[in-house]
């Protein structure tokens, strides 16, 4: 039987506010345990939450950017459960009336087709603290620095049909929140993570299968691995005559498998109710419009522009707009090279990306800035050097931090474009290879490549290939 996978994601994006969502404590990562938890975060008797307006602004920004409805009246609710890293014994979240409802996100499939994923809702909530089990023998340490950090929980429709689609969607949201500057997207620090709801059903069946929720996936690789493992596990159970238990599962990256955390029956009754300490969040149209006016050009808009104006493919446009910084870099290059957008795209996606990857640095830290790369490409365009030489020049520029012209000057890498000089070399090559010349002239056309190679060898690759072709044809013909 063939099976269809159904996936929905709940993405948690930590909002990049300076202070927490309901207290004035800073949100910066990496401080000594509990150094960034004030009385409100510690849930001392008598303290009260006050909503951080910046968090609201960021949530609205996200809603507008994914074409969603921004609720003019949303409500904070309490989600009640006991856990040591949840100091109040409840998490302030949004339940019945979230701030963002019904948006969409388009993703690009491997085959180049576009798939639309529905966003059910996005709501504001506070993060919990952390329980530290490793460092304390037989005890649990509690670090409440993260407690109260604002989160935007972005809930998708169960629209994805493969782990790859799920990753593409997650990457797309990752790109968007960084474009909007509402989340730093740092997955290692947990600023951007997701829970995946996964189920399988016989292909063609309308009813969803029983789902399992895989908690806390914080890398694109883990998401793909976890979902693929989970799908295989579920299919194996069903095909073996078993039934899927609705449960929460954890992914173990070391073993590459998921394991059960708790079943549906063991789940908490969260006893949600509106938080009486907080007023409903009422947003007027002028506020929403003022936020809209701060929206940057969004990734999809940018990609469309690259395709339309520069003739780039959907794939290239997608890669170049995957981060705002990459797009900025690319546009920095083409600003100096009008008409050569495709060449610039190839270089940014090729040599530059490879070099960045090799050094594991971001494009903003690139050792060759956009102006210098444009300088190098200009030398290809004006035929001073060949593309092949340019790659060598690029290497030197990267390691030595020099301009293209300085590198070309120092290494004599300049292209030979003087016809007389090239003709002289051709004459020498013909004289040194009389047999090949005779064979060619008697009809062995294939030998043309041999003569090109010889000319290039003598000129150490610096002869302009176009000119070499033209001149050789003429001379060989006799």
């Amino acid at each position: 039987m063939s099976w269809e996978t159904v996936i929905g994601l709940e993405i948690h994006a930590q909002l990049a506010t300076k202070t927490k969502i309901f207290s004035s404590a800073p949100t910066a990562y990496g401080a000594a345990p509990n150094a960034q938890a004030n009385l409100v975060d510690l849930a001392y008797p008598g303290v009260l939450p006050v909503l951080n307006q910046e968090a609201v602004r960021m949530a609205v920004k996200f809603g507008l950017a994914c074409g969603a409805t921004v609720s003019q009246r949303s409500i904070f609710a309490r989600k009640n459960y006991f856990y040591p890293d949840l100091p109040k014994g409840y998490q302030i979240s949004q339940y019945e009336k979230p701030i963002v409802e019904t948006g969409v996100m388009d993703i690009l499939r491997d085959d180049g087709s576009v798939k639309r994923v529905g966003i059910t809702r996005a709501h504001l909530e506070e993060d919990a603290g952390k329980s530290l089990h490793e460092e304390f023998e037989g005890l649990t340490g509690i670090d409440l620095n993260r407690a109260g950090t604002p989160l935007l929980e972005i809930v998708s429709e169960p629209d994805m049909r493969s782990a790859k689609e799920a990753v593409a969607y997650m990457k797309k949201i990752h790109t968007l929140v960084r474009y909007l500057e509402i989340c730093d997207g740092n997955m290692q620090e947990g600023s951007f993570r997701c829970d995946a709801n996964v189920s399988v059903r016989p292909a063609g069946q309308a009813k969803f299968g029983t789902r399992c929720e895989i908690k806390n996936l914080n890398s694109f690789r883990y998401i793909e691995k976890a979902i693929n493992y989970e799908v295989a596990r579920q299919i194996e159970i069903i095909e073996g005559g078993g039934k899927i238990r609705q449960e929460t599962r954890l992914f173990d990256p070391d073993k590459g498998e998921t394991r059960a955390l708790r079943s549906k029956e063991e789940a908490n009754d969260y006893r949600y109710f509106p938080d009486p300490d907080l007023l409903p969040v009422v947003l007027d149209t002028s506020f929403i419009e003022s936020v809209r006016s701060t929206l940057p050009e969004l990734p999809d808009e940018k990609a469309a522009r690259y395709m339309q104006k520069f003739g780039l493919s959907a794939y290239d446009a997608g890669v170049l707009t995957a981060s705002r910084e990459m797009g900025d870099y690319y546009e920095g290059v083409i600003a100096k090279l009008p008409g050569n957008e495709k060449l610039a795209a190839n270089w940014v996606m090729g040599e530059l990306s490879a070099a960045l990857n090799k050094d594991a640095i971001e494009v903003t830290q690139s050792r060759i800035d956009a102006t210098r790369l444009a300088g190098l490409l200009a030398r290809i365009v004006d035929a001073t050097i060949s593309g092949k030489i340019a790659k060598e020049v690029f290497e030197k520029m990267w390691t030595e931090g020099l301009d293209a012209d300085a590198v070309i000057e120092a290494t004599g890498g300049k292209q030979i474009t003087d016809s007389g000089a090239i003709e002289k070399v051709i004459d020498e090559v013909m004289a040194a290879n009389p047999k090949q010349l005779a064979d060619y002239r008697s009809g062995k056309d294939k030998l043309f490549g041999f003569f090109v190679g010889q000319v290039m060898k003598v000129t150490a690759g610096k002869a302009n290939p176009g000119q070499v072709n033209d001149l050789l044809k003429k001379k060989l013909a006799g």
């Binding site: 510690l42 001392y44 008797p45 100091p87 109040k88 006893r271 300490d277 907080l278 007023l279």
Partner: protein
Amino acid sequence: MTELHHLTLAQLAAGLQKRQFSSVEVTRHFLDRIERLNPALNAMITVSGQQALAAAALADKKLDAGNAGVLTGMPIVHKDIFCTDGVLTTCGSRMLSNFVAPYDATVVAKLSQAGVIALGKANMDEFAMGSSNETSFYGPVKNPWDLAKVPGGSSGGSAAAVAARLAPAATGTDTGGSIRQPAALTSLTGIKPTYGRVSRYGMIAFASSLDQAGTLTYTAQDAALLLHAMAGFDPRDSTSVDVPVPDYSATLEQPLAGMKIGLLKEFFEQGLDEANAKLVRDALKIYESLGAKLIDVSLPNLPLSVPTYYVVAPAECSSNLSRFDGVRFGHRCENPVDLMDLYKRSRGEGFGAEVKRRIMTGTYVLSAGYYDAYYLRAQKVRRLITDDFARAFAGVDVLMGPTSPTPAFDIGAKVDDPVTMYLNDIYTIGANLAGLPAMSIPCGFLGGLPVGLQIIGPHFAEAKLLNVAHIFQRETDWHERIPEAYR
């Protein structure tokens, strides 16, 4: 001879300003009375004598220098529900019997900035859950009018302390009548302002949508002084309201001629002792003689107040009290074997029976499958009650009726019957559900025990309530009575 404890807050303030006596003298006088008289009353949990005297000495310097405020040097008592920096703050519970607050509640800070001196912390029902002050971990408070009777609750310690003249005034909180009912049972003036008028920051939450801080004083004039210093917007409390605080003292003398007083029909029909009702009617006659018009008003949904309240308040408390888990502060059980043991025993040992009852009730009404039938329905009824009040205030300036169905009852009489105990709040809960300002003022005695008249106003009508109460107190002397043993 007039003793310091016979003076109202306003009179003490005037005497301090005129330097007829010093703040240290006044403070010491009340501290002496607390030391001598409190053991029989059990009105106080903590007395901070040294801090009080040090603050009084500083206040005297300001008073001498002539740059003091109207309340500078005035000693009062805080209900032990308000966090006080560096001072034990128990909320009447074993759970917080070791909790020294690291900060001042906004109410405490504002009064302190106004120069008020804190004598100590008053006993109260545990987490303000009670109508008799019998649920306190620190034992019941006695009524100064009859030590065998309860003083009312939950601000019973505050009421007993002021009624026995251990302090000229006290702060209190009122979630379902916790200022007004004890004021009525001890012959005091108690005001619960509009929800949002006084900051809740630092006031340990019982039911967040109902809790409101107020005062217990001898007179409406005293309440006007104290409330003015407490009230106002607080950026740390999202539910506090940003409307200007009027000078309540300035409008106390406004004549009442032509004023319309609504008589709450339902209050006089529902479980009210006839003798008690007569005292309330006598008080209303006084208002009539002052030119006010009495108009019968019906609030048809008001009889649903008690069941509504006993869904909403426990629901909120069940969540508010989750933070008391033995992890970061408060009572922690000995040698917990694991997390669940820590929770169960810390909370099991830390909370008393009434608190547990309400946490259980609240947890139940919020549970999946019951939420709609209880919590959601209660919120709808709450809306209906609020609308009833709004309709009534379209035709009258204030509403009046009894504060409590009976005068003070015997200690122990109702402890085993929570529902009967809950019915004590039958007249007071409506104002909390609707967020309205309400007062209780003394209006007579029944068998030697005080009876209160309740006045309810529209939102932010504190000035009108105090005016209405003050004029009554100009005509009567019930509020000047002092229990014999405390004269």
